[in-house]
């Protein structure tokens, strides 16, 4: 990633990849030599349904600017309905984090099958751009700034 196009801000994005699809797509993108956004740190999970919302909370409070979840297309889930749960959780989570002043766009869920290396690249590049436009989240710093430490 060249530094002139980053506008001084290089977002940190955590990606949770289902091992049956998106992780394989990432692998395919790698072996096909497709350049993909270097801002995304991928974590392999057994299923997109394994991504507990507290993982996403953890990512944000430890300095991530965005969280991406990659799962299988509907009907393709290795565990039948893990991706449905992941979708419902993400939609609810987006509503909850909005109340804390976190833009819902900072969490994105997408279905990427094992053969869709190009979709993987396109989605992650797009998402990195979205986060770059939103700017840094800095929730770790926000948690440290507490009024009671100043007073008395």
């Amino acid at each position: 990633m060249s530094s002139e196009e980053t506008n001084g801000f290089n977002p940190t994005i955590i990606g949770f990849y289902c091992r049956w699809c998106t992780h394989a797509a990432a692998d395919l993108a790698g072996t096909s030599r497709i350049p993909v956004s270097a801002n995304v740190i991928g974590i392999r999970v057994p299923c997109s349904g394994r991504v507990d919302p507290s993982f996403i909370y953890d990512a944000f409070t430890k300095g991530a600017d965005g969280v991406f979840i990659g799962g299988c297309h509907y009907g393709d889930c290795h565990y039948e309905d893990g991706n449905y749960s992941a979708f419902k959780r993400t939609k609810m989570l987006q509503k909850v984090i909005k109340e804390f002043g976190i833009e819902p766009e900072r969490v994105r869920i997408e279905w990427i099958s094992a053969s869709e290396a190009n979709k993987y690249k396109k989605t992650l590049d797009e998402f990195t751009e979205t986060i770059r436009e939103l700017g840094p989240l800095n929730w770790d710093k926000h948690l440290q700034e507490r009024d009671y430490e100043k007073s008395v």
Binding site: S54, Y57, K95, E99, I102, E145, D147, V152
Partner: protein, 321 residues
Amino acid sequence: MSEEKPKIAFYWAASCGCCEIAILDLDEAVLDVAAKADIVFWPVAIDTKYKDIEAMPDNGIDVTFFNGGIRNSEAVHLAKLLRKKSKFLVSFGTCAHCGGVPALANLKTKDQILERVYKTTPSTVNPEEIYPQTSFKVDEGEITLPELLDGVYPLDNVVPVDYYLPGCPPPKKWILAGVTAFLTGELPPKGSIIAEEFALCKECPREKPEKHSIKEFKRTWEVMNIDFEKCLLDQGIICLGPATRAGCEARCITTNYPCRGCMGPAPGIIDMGAKMVSVLGSILEEKDETKMEQIIDEIPDLAGTFYEFTAGKSVFLRRKN
């Protein structure tokens, strides 16, 4: 026990006062406590001044029961003062433990709250935009007010806490268990939460199926023929039981009101909202994408429901902007 009676103090910060009533609700047991201990500080019931506490030696109070969250600089001062003067500091009630209902204000910033209260509420007339000040000069001298903090904080954020008595208010049996432990000297390990060590569903008497499945979420008044025996989640009512610590004997649920999480997060749960999102995500049956979105959009005030009592303990803590 020595010939001198143990000294007990009670204090309230950002709370509604029901924790004090819970103490009086111990009925005749409160007389036993009063007979065995001296109450040295209790602003709601006896006339003592802050300077009386300041004059006491460090560790001069045996136990302080502190209820209410930390909302302003006065509460910060008292929390630090009482910590210094007490051998044991007990976080009493949900507000001191998790922020409680006042901590719902953490879903708004301090400026948003002040603007709403002093400017934009329909009943407010404030053309000069007068906001509360921390100090004001009058002929007689300067008068001061405590400063509002940027959020509501649980007591243990500000000072170390020895024991927790959760609940809104804490159930009688756990207050008695706690007080008895102090009077007899058989204390649990420090940092203990004096309640059960499992989630509320285990204690709840309602029938729960092997696998829950719900088609839509309903508000309590939308369920006309409520089933007294069946799990409330299965009837479409959002109940925080799966994420809440047990110990209240399902006192709301037995009266057909869903759990709102006053006992705080169950063991192993770091955030009520995150866990409830996880729970509801797995039991909602719908599999059509647009319908899923529609059902979720129709739930009113998700964050307010999930964090009704525990916003102060949430991982995100308070709104940013």
